[in-house]
Structure formats: C-alpha cells, structure tokens
Symmetry: C2
Subunit: 304 residues, 2 copies
C-alpha cells in the first residue's frame, strides 16, 4: 500500500512486544525505499479519558511496536540507518500517566493518575502552559543477536531508549545482528523531556516518514544517532554510571578508529568536548548518550 506521496505505508500487522533473534519479517523494504510507518500509542489505545488509569506496567503488553521490517541485503556485521524525514501526530490529544511502582519518584506516588492534554496548532496544552510539539520515537531497535528484550527494555539492539534526539532529521544507526536487521518501532511521544522522569511523555500515535539505508560492514556495538550537528553514542545499562562508561568507550573507539587519535588523546578530547546526556532514568535499564560535535568527528567509520 502506498501513501499519498508515493511512500509505502507500513501499519498494523501483528504488534511486537519483544525484540529477540527469531523475529520474522512482516514487511521487507529495499534500502532507501521511502516508507511511512504508522505507530500506535504506547498503551495500545486503552487510555482515552482522565478516568482511565494505568495501575501497573505490564512488561509483556506495552510499547507495542510496528515491525519487524526486514531490509533487503542486510546481514550481521552491517548496520542500518533509519533516517527520520518527518514525524506527524494524527490525533488532537495525548495522555500523561503517573503509574505506581514506575517512574523516578515512585516512592512519592501512591496511586495512578492520568491527564489528557489537548494538541492543536503544533502545541500541547498543559493547564495554562503551551508546549511546542517535538515528537520522538521512544522504542526502536533491531533483532538482538541473543536474548529476549521486552519493548519496555533498552539494550544494545536499541529498544526502549526513550531518547528525545530520535526525532525529525535524525539518522539513527543500528547494529544488524540477524539477516534483514528486523527493525521495529513504537512508543511515540508528542513531547518529552530528557529523563522522562514521571515515566511517560505525552503519549500519542505518530506517523513516521523515513528511509532505511544500509552500511555494509558498518558494525556497531550499540545505536548511534547522527544529527545535523553531532554524533550521539547511545548506551543502556543497569546504572547511569555504567551506561556513561559504555557510551564514552564507544565515542573514544570512534575517535581512535575514524580520527586516528591515540586512546589517551581520545579520552582527553571526550572530556573536553564530549557531552554526556541523560536519555531516560525510568525504564528497567538507564539510557545515556555521549555527544560530540561533528566538527571534532566528521565520520564514525575508518577512512577508506
């Protein structure tokens, strides 16, 4: 099925609630083929009214993702680049949830709370405040080499990274661990802060205009976000400190591999111009990204 602008539309199918090595493609695309991915909201549409509450996170049934999308020719050791050309919000409202036993300040929270917020003219209304839309994709990843990861969990395959930088204009690089790569995405937000402290942004469905390209032999240990300005090395781990270590190691490896620095010089440069940023502090693992301006690191691959 092709969208109005000739993009192939990817929607529906069997919703995916876990990333694992045996994912079977529901769609197969050519590298660079224009697609429009229609993602449902992160709670499967069950929150529609302030009286609808979310009393606990069911790790088997939230952040449902559309996919897997296989990319023709993708083989383990390659990488996929998911280029986000546009994200639109096809709904005039979104939800914000406080969920018991979830969120950064869960010790303060006794009961569930839901707020339905209107969306109009590119803005979310929150009481008397008007917040510009800045939609992002909360969960996106490829099939892992091993293990089974609920769509609530971020890990080296991507998954629930809840990273605001995965927005319009970003190119998100993923490891290919299994033939086809098997990309899937969901858990959209109309707007969210770095940290996602209460456990949600403004949950909505989104339509994502994208193309997936392929870098043969471009193996990566973990996802990397490319923006107009910088590279962001994303890592998730049990603690923020452990995630910071992984993301910093990945940056230094790229400085050594692609820019020819010694490891020690890479470590020093990371300390001078690398910015560790928090993505989220509420999922079962913590996610950070180590960011460096492209003027200090033009490419992440070794020179040819």
């Amino acid at each position: 099925m092709a969208g109005a602008d000739g993009r192939r539309t990817i929607e529906g199918g069997e919703i995916l609630y876990a990333f694992h090595p045996d994912l079977a493609a529901q769609w197969t695309v050519r590298p660079g083929e224009p697609i429009l991915v229609r993602c449902p909201d992160g709670v499967g549409g069950v929150i529609r009214d302030p009286g609808d509450r979310y009393h606990a996170v069911d790790y088997d049934r939230v952040n449902g993702c559309v996919g897997p999308i296989a990319v023709e020719g993708a083989e383990p050791g390659d990488r996929l680049v998911f280029a986000i050309e546009d994200i639109t919000v096809p709904q005039a409202w979104g939800y914000v949830l406080v969920i018991p036993k979830f969120g950064l300040l869960q010790s303060h929270v006794d009961e569930a709370a839901t707020r339905i917020v209107p969306i109009a003219d590119g803005r979310v209304r929150f009481g008397g405040l008007s917040i510009p839309l800045d939609p992002c994709i909360g969960t996106i990843g490829t099939a892992p080499a091993a293990g089974r990861f609920s769509t609530v969990i971020p890990h080296d395959h991507g998954g629930n990274m809840d990273t605001t930088a995965i927005r319009k204009g970003a190119r998100v690089h993923f490891p290919v661990n299994r033939p086809g790569g098997m990309l899937a995405l969901g858990d959209p937000k109309a707007v969210m802060g770095d940290g996602e402290v209460c456990g949600t942004g403004v949950g909505v469905p989104i339509d994502v205009a994208a193309r997936i390209s392929l870098v043969k032999g471009g193996r990566l240990p973990r996802p990397v976000i490319e923006t107009a300005d910088d590279w962001q090395f994303v890592a998730s781990a049990d603690t923020l400190e452990a995630a910071c270590r992984l993301a910093t190691e990945d940056l230094i490896d790229a400085l050594v591999r692609a820019a020819g620095l010694s490891w020690t010089d890479g470590y020093m440069l990371a300390s001078l111009v690398g910015d560790l940023r928090i993505s989220q502090v509420v999922d079962p693992l913590m996610t950070v990204r180590m960011c460096i301006a492209r003027r200090y690191l033009p490419a992440i691959d070794a020179p040819a």
Copy 2:
C-alpha cells in the same frame, strides 16, 4: 585593591581546601559590589610541562579556592546570587590530565598522562583541532551548615559541581547556611564537556568579574543556576540516579511553590519539559542538574 575598571580585586590570601561551618571571612563585600576574583588553577600551578604528571588526587590539596568572601547582611535562611559578568583566561596554555584511579574510565588507565594545550585567539588547540574557549568555574560554594567537604567534593553547599553552566552570564544561587554565606571559588576550566569524563577539563587560572547579591529569606536546599533561558536545579549524590531524584524533587517543589501546580502536575510537567543533564561523573559524588525553560517557570520564589 581596585581593578582598572573600578572592581575590587579579590586574590591571594590563604587558599581554601575545604568548605565547613567555621570558615572565617578573608574578604567582606557589600551586596552588588563589583568584584574581580582571580582564581589560581586547580592544581596550584604544579603542572607546567608535559613531563609534569599528577599521579594521584590529594583530596586535601587540589581545587584550591579563593575565599571565603562574606556578604554583608547574609544570614542563614537567605540565599546568595553569584552573577558571573565575565570570565577571562589570563594565560596562553592549559593542562589536561589523566590520573590513575580517577576518572570515568579509570580501569583503562595504568599511568598518568599530561597534555599541555596552547590557548590563543579565544581557542584551545588540541592537536589539529581548534576548540572555542568556554570557561567555567569547577568549584564554587558557601559554608555548609554542618560537615567538612574537601574542595574535590560537591554537595548541597555547592563545592566541586564541575558544571559547565557556571559560566559567563549565569547567576548561581546558593543557600546561606552561616552568617555572611562565606563564598569561595576555584578549579577553573578553559573548556570542558558535560561529564568531565577523564577527570579534568583544560585547567587554567581565570579572572571572574562578578557581583554577589542577597535574597533575604530565599532559602534553597541546594544550588540553582539561572541562565537567560532556564533554571537549572543542581544536585550531587552517591549515584547519578540519587542526584536525579533530588534535582527533580527541587524542580517540582519550585513548580508547586512558585507556579501553584499540584505535586502530581509538577511531576508530569517535569517529565514533559524538564531536562536532566549530567554535570560530572568523576568526583566522589555525582552531579546532575534538572533544567526547565523560564517560560514554564518564570520565578523560583512564591508570589509576593
């Protein structure tokens, strides 16, 4: 002693290596008095050559601070606002150090390394790269109500927060815990990334043009940075997660106190437009800041 532009110059005296309740003023200033604080580098000038190494952090003798500066009329329960009007670097070089058993990736480091980097025309040269100067104050704080904190340690009084946002144009709000407040500062960097992953930025001396004003009764639990665009609630704790909790609690308290939100609405708003950012991950405690644009929180005090 007055500087060329009529500012009172504060320099020398006995260098301070710990914040504690019994600090005695070496200078006393009037609220709003223009001052120029000359800070020595963070290692007391012992690193001048690539052959000079720093083999271990001596918690009693680094990050030497200039102060204490008492502010006339400051009493416990007030707050001081340190307004940074300018920071200049009066030296044509700086140091970057890798120190064994210190820094985020210390398990990779066997021996000390020193790099001396030239500074000219507002830029640091690092190999073939040219990095714009963006000087910040690594250690700045007031006397704590209790306890003794080496100038390597950040805590609720401020101290070694290693926060890039403490730069020209920022107004940094501190709790006054003891008469006069007893502000001191040091540990300057010519440039540094968020995280300060190797354990140092580019160490240099700096001259800080500032004024310290007083908010009577403006009690704060921890430092808050005010910029042209946002408020940044700074917190330090044993782990990044614990620091994130404190900083988020402080933001929500301000949203409740100054903007009249319910706690739950404040928590949700913090999740939508609050950005948790990493300051540093290498000092004995970890430091983060929770940032919110001023259009969502015009002031941090309750309306009169």
